[in-house]
Subunit: 352 residues, 2 copies
């Protein structure tokens, strides 16, 4: 009854965790983040072309599961991502993710990929991209509060993309700081282990906050933050989860990815719904001014947006065509006659 | 530097198209639809427990790509599904789908499955379930307008679940009808090939409409529909796509899955936003009356809802534990120390 082997139409390239690690280690994490940063920048520049929506979140007591779809009219992408702060203590990842890129013209997926590692890369790339436009010129020193899974990626992306050479680390859990310091040992970065948040941000050009508590914490209070710094706030990313004291927000010029989502999830959830913010894409595209003066505090209130995942998936999709590191999954039913799904199933009886 | 093999936490069971066909053919399509129907019925009975939202649709000129998430608090599920009416002419499936079931407590997926075949099964199971509550008692004859990929599944589900023994087929494309008639040859059903829609619905107890045009078509006009029938309308499932004349709707008692979604996508999109409809789950749960009289026209305006996919994924998840037919995918990054994602990546350099 014909050839039962799945046709090429049935196949979707799949990048497992193992293959993603191969891909990252073939290219090198810093270079890969720099290249993903270029993709994200290019997509921010054509922001109006994207079909945008706040992510679709299913909240529970333990955490959140989110779907983040977007499309540029040619490709459609979405990411599944969870955020469960209590996972770490149970031996699970706080954040895991996977995603899909598909063709709009026929709805067929062209890539299915792990995105736990890829999200770490794109998050750091996005932070560094924002800093490229917002941080003081010639920034060299970054303080990092929160030294969890995202920490080393941020450090290396800021080094590669904007030339940060010194990282001051602090975490309420000294083991997290030790882990990060150890991993960053031979990267050429100067690593300074600090005893508290205030020490970590002393004399820095950039402050990155990246903690994981699902609550309104205050990892930075107002009197700690001097003028002229750029704050890269990436840990506040769901309702009820913020990191900065409200007074810091009031002293800052605030830049965001997609206001309808950030007002729900970001640091600015504690401000009035019409508090003025600037969309990052406008700065990148040249429609809005980023840093205006040496004394200004700029704040990138980052929650992560679907277009960044889309850019990262596009990047991976392009790499596969040259570097490889994937397997084909038999994901799509592809009968010889598209109407004959039942016949395909029925004929499989004899071959299975 | 430790064992680099992915741990069991990294693994997600994957059911490919080939393995889904094995599973269906091991259990038997009619029995499997009947069992999925039981899962769907059980979940309709606990409808208020579900986190419900209209599906998230990305429309284009060529079709639509949708994400359909839901959760019962213990499990979270979503389906990716496309609908591209022009695909068939290009050799692609009109509808393809895949889905994921995850644990709410930690956000980790427990199943990744093809859902092109599974959607066909769950759609037919849902239709038959609605008919069990709404069709005339002792229904034996069903007319089917539209003999595409869904047709045989509907016929077999109605046979297995409510005892339909005769199917009258009509499609504007005679080849579709011939395909369906051929596939249903040895199933014990009486198959009658008809020359037009009117002939197909002559003397029937149930009318199923399942065409695929993305436009407001009128496959049934008012004078064709006699009193006392149950209409199972499954082809109208996106804005601008309906199958029935408005006057038929006005003569019918209308039952729907989830009103906020059906008012956007179903046959009732042509009616006023507050036109009275009954939620199917209320009938199943005993809160609302289904069929009241022999003369009444009941209409199940079905667009497909996320809970039905959730029920189907739960069913597959349970089957895997006994029947098997899956492979493990290395989808989730699982470092020994959950905070040490970078270290895992770095250590993989030496083993990859």
């Amino acid at each position: 009854m014909g050839n039962h082997l799945p046709s090429s139409l049935a196949m979707v390239p799949f990048v497992s965790v193992d293959n993603m690690m191969r891909l990252v280690n073939t290219i090198g994490a810093p270079k890969m983040m720099s290249e993903i940063c270029d993709y994200i920048e290019a997509d921010f520049k054509r922001w109006p072309e994207f079909d945008k929506t706040p992510r679709v979140a299913a909240h529970s007591e333990e955490g959140v599961i989110e779907l983040m779809p977007t499309s540029d009219g040619e490709y459609y992408g979405f990411k599944y991502v969870n955020g469960h702060p209590a996972n770490m203590a149970r031996g699970f990842q706080t954040v895991t993710a996977f995603g899909v890129l598909a063709k709009v013209v026929n709805g067929y997926p062209v890539l299915f990929s792990e995105m736990t590692i890829l999200t770490a890369l794109r998050t750091a790339a996005t932070s560094a991209l924002a800093a490229k436009y917002l941080a003081p010129k010639g920034s060299r020193v970054m303080g990092m509060i929160g030294n969890g899974a995202q920490c080393e990626f941020q450090a290396l992306a800021f080094n590669e993309i904007i030339g940060i050479d010194t990282i001051r680390l602090y975490d309420i859990d000294i083991q997290a700081t030790e882990k990060a310091a150890k991993n960053l040992r031979n990267t050429g970065l100067n690593i300074v282990v600090c005893n508290n948040a205030e020490e970590a941000i002393t004399g820095v050009d950039i402050i990155t906050t990246c903690t994981a508590d699902k609550q309104n914490a205050t990892v930075l209070s107002d009197n700690m933050v001097g003028s002229g710094v750029h704050i890269n706030a990436i840990g506040g990313d769901c309702p009820g989860k913020t990191e900065l004291h409200r007074d810091i927000l009031l002293r800052s010029d605030i830049f965001v990815e997609y206001p309808p989502q950030t007002r729900i999830e970001g640091e600015i959830q504690v401000l009035e719904a019409d508090f003025p913010v600037t969309e990052l894409w406008r700065v990148i595209e040249g429609q809005a001014v980023g840093r205006k003066s040496r004394d200004q505090i700029t704040l990138f209130d980052s929650v992560g947006f679907a277009t960044e995942d889309f850019s990262a998936l596009r990047y991976i999709h392009h790499q596969l065509q040259t570097i490889g590191h994937y397997v084909d999954l038999d994901l799509l039913a592809d009968p010889d006659d598209p109407r004959d799904l039942f016949g395909m199933l029925d004929r499989a009886k004899t071959t299975n």
